[in-house]
Amino acid sequence: MSQISRRQAIAILGALGFGATAAACAGPGGTTAPGGATGPAAPATGAVTGKVSFAHWRGEDKAVFDELIKRFAALHDGVEVVQDISTSNDYNAQGLQKVRGAAIGDAFATFRGAQFKNFTEAGIYAELKGSKAAANYQPGLLTAGQSGQNQLGLPYQVVFPMPMANADLFDKAGAEIAPKDWDGFLAMCEKLAASGVIPISWPGGDVGNGGQLFNCMIANNAPVDDMCAQIEQGKLKCTDDWFLKMLGQYKELVPYLQPNATGTAVEPAQNLFSQGKAAMLATGSYHLAAVRGLGAKFPIELVFPNTSDGSGKFEGAYNATFILGVNSASKNQAASAAWIDFLSEPENAGYYANQTAQHVAVNNVEYTNADLKRLSPWLDKKTALAARFQFQNLDVRNAVEASATAVISGTSPEQAAEAAQKIVDERL
């Protein structure tokens, strides 16, 4: 065997390094997803068999989905559905990179708003317009899964991002559970405080959950329904009067929140509510199962902090999310589409809803869960689609919502609004 010198070895390693450099210089970007160039196509048809990866972030729903998977597999020989679950934070941050290319996520879910938009732009969704599944949904709720003329996703869950109320504490305090205007809401809080409980438990230390109250506070204050989209586009400003009025109303809530509310994480806020120390939990109906799990036995209602003088357009707020889709890059689109069809059947959607205590957007579902039954009238009320998910830029969303937290921690509405607007302006 011939021998080589150190210099030759260095030359070889240098060549390798040069190769690595050249490889690194391959530009970013990549192949366009199948739907990207020509527009989305319907999922391929074929035999319902093989493995389907279902990517989502609802770890708490795993057992319920496992049962549904078992039922699905019983209908189709040779099909296997596996759940690829990430935490909601990870899924929000990295979901697109994980699902793109369909290494996982033959079928998947997305959050409404920025994530749905990014998935749409990346051409990941197959077209579900006219599909068997889409026909099962309430038409008004399907809009959250539309892009232009395409029905790309099916928003599975309907949640109410409004404060949950302990009806027993309201009765005891003699407080009206459905205030008609802002003065009524404050009077209600005053009665609750006078009865010796914390009126509102608010997780101000948790950006995601603390921000849900924003959906209610902005709904009747804004001059238009797409107010957050317009803030992001620079058409409306955080320094506008209506926005300042909303921040002023946040300031009026301070005496009714638990002490040090801006440092409270979501779990302690849930505990205050479930232990009967707080009359309301200002997150949303998606925490029903969690507070029941913490031992809450009292009847739960929803309260809309109506910021208007009684002439407000909306009676509440809702969100249609967990937007189901079929991956356009999936090698097993037939089985993936069949899985989405299966989930969208009223019987299966009902099972999911009742087991997870979440309303669904599917028609003709029978709610047997006591909490869902009690809150079902909200499905028919005039509620505003949760505004915070109109933001496409997460930095803008966080900055705008942070203005409310800043006011609660003592900053003046004007200063908080200016600070938020500065960040919005930087991203216009």
Partner: protein
């Protein structure tokens, strides 16, 4: 005797090989080795090239684009991303300021605290060994566990800190901790020091135990007090250990990503946003080009701060 014989035999064999090479007309380089030896580092080199060098080089390329992370197309934007970071992005400059403050607090507190602990626990007595293990314990915990433990401690409603203060009649000192924007970073710094001081203590103990006892005995005979002994013997001898502690703590504090996300949630609020969490938020916001530029600034910042520390503190003796 036998060793001498072996060496002579080896020398003879080497001489005869050299003569054979000379006879064949070629001179054997002392650096020539069997080429098979060069294959051994290749797997490591390949792994480093693929997982470290290439992504780093790619980051430089991405940093001059407006790539969103998923599009097939992108534009080259020159140095715009770097200009934006420093002049048009108050979230980035806020994260940078927070990070520098955090590094400063943690480096000073952790270095001082770990040195004091090491000085108190240098002796190998049973009590010292037990306490060392106790102080080292947080180091073996995962950062997510540490974050959750301290999140509970700092909770204003059910947390240990307020409960203890309330229990001893100091309700006036109860606070919001992480909820107070002007204090939140300090409380996370306390957590970081608790988390890693034990590890740095071990580095210092190793340095302290290497100092010859005779020096202290001689100093005592000369009438030197405790402080003089520390100043003239201990500190110069632990300078290399300090250098390691400071450099490691700096890098650790810049990269306190998981601790911050665990304790403050994702995304963290502005008062707890540091460079690594900001970069993550930018990636999550589908601004890959801009996030890559931020990553390069981040790398440069760590290198610069570490270099400045070594220069300014003069912790490394000349020639090392």
């Amino acid at each position: 005797m036998s060793t001498h014989t072996n060496m002579a035999a080896k020398r003879k064999a080497t001489d005869s090989r050299t003569e054979t090479d000379a006879a064949k007309g070629r001179r054997r380089s002392p650096t020539r080795v069997n080429p098979a030896l060069y294959l051994f580092p290749l797997p490591a080199v390949a792994i480093i090239a693929f997982f470290l060098v290439m992504p780093t080089l790619q980051a430089f390329q991405y940093a001059i684009t407006d790539w969103n992370g998923f599009s097939a197309t992108f534009n080259y934007v020159g140095l715009d991303n770097f200009v934006r970071a420093f002049t048009k992005d108050s979230l980035f400059t806020n994260a940078l300021t927070n990070n520098l403050k955090f590094v400063l607090m943690v480096v000073i507190a952790q270095t001082a605290f770990s040195l004091v602990l090491a000085l108190l626990l240098t002796k190998n007595s049973r009590g010292s060994i037990l306490l060392r293990a106790l102080f080292f314990f947080p180091t073996i915990l995962s950062s997510v566990s540490v974050a959750f433990i301290w999140k509970f401690i700092y909770d204003p409603n059910f947390g240990l800190a307020n409960a203890v203060l309330g229990g001893v009649g100091l309700e006036a000192l109860q606070g919001s901790y992480l909820g107070n924007n002007s204090q939140a970073l300090y409380w996370v710094a306390v957590t970081q020091v608790w988390f890693h001081a034990g590890q740095m203590m071990v580095v210092y103990i190793a340095g302290l135990q290497a100092i010859p006892r005779e020096l202290y005995e001689a100093a005592e005979m000369d009438g030197a007090g405790r402080w003089q002994q520390f100043k003239s013997i201990t500190w110069p001898f632990v300078a290399p250990a300090t250098s390691i502690v400071v450099a490691y703590t700096t890098v650790q504090s810049f990269k306190a990503f998981d601790l911050i996300l665990g304790i403050a949630g994702n995304p963290p609020k502005q008062s707890l946003d540091i460079l690594s969490t900001r970069i993550y938020s930018t990636f999550a916001n589908s601004e890959f080009g801009y996030a890559a530029a931020q990553s390069i600034i981040f790398m440069a910042m760590i290198a610069l701060v570490t270099w400045l520390q070594r220069r300014l503190l003069r912790l490394t003796p000349k020639g090392e």
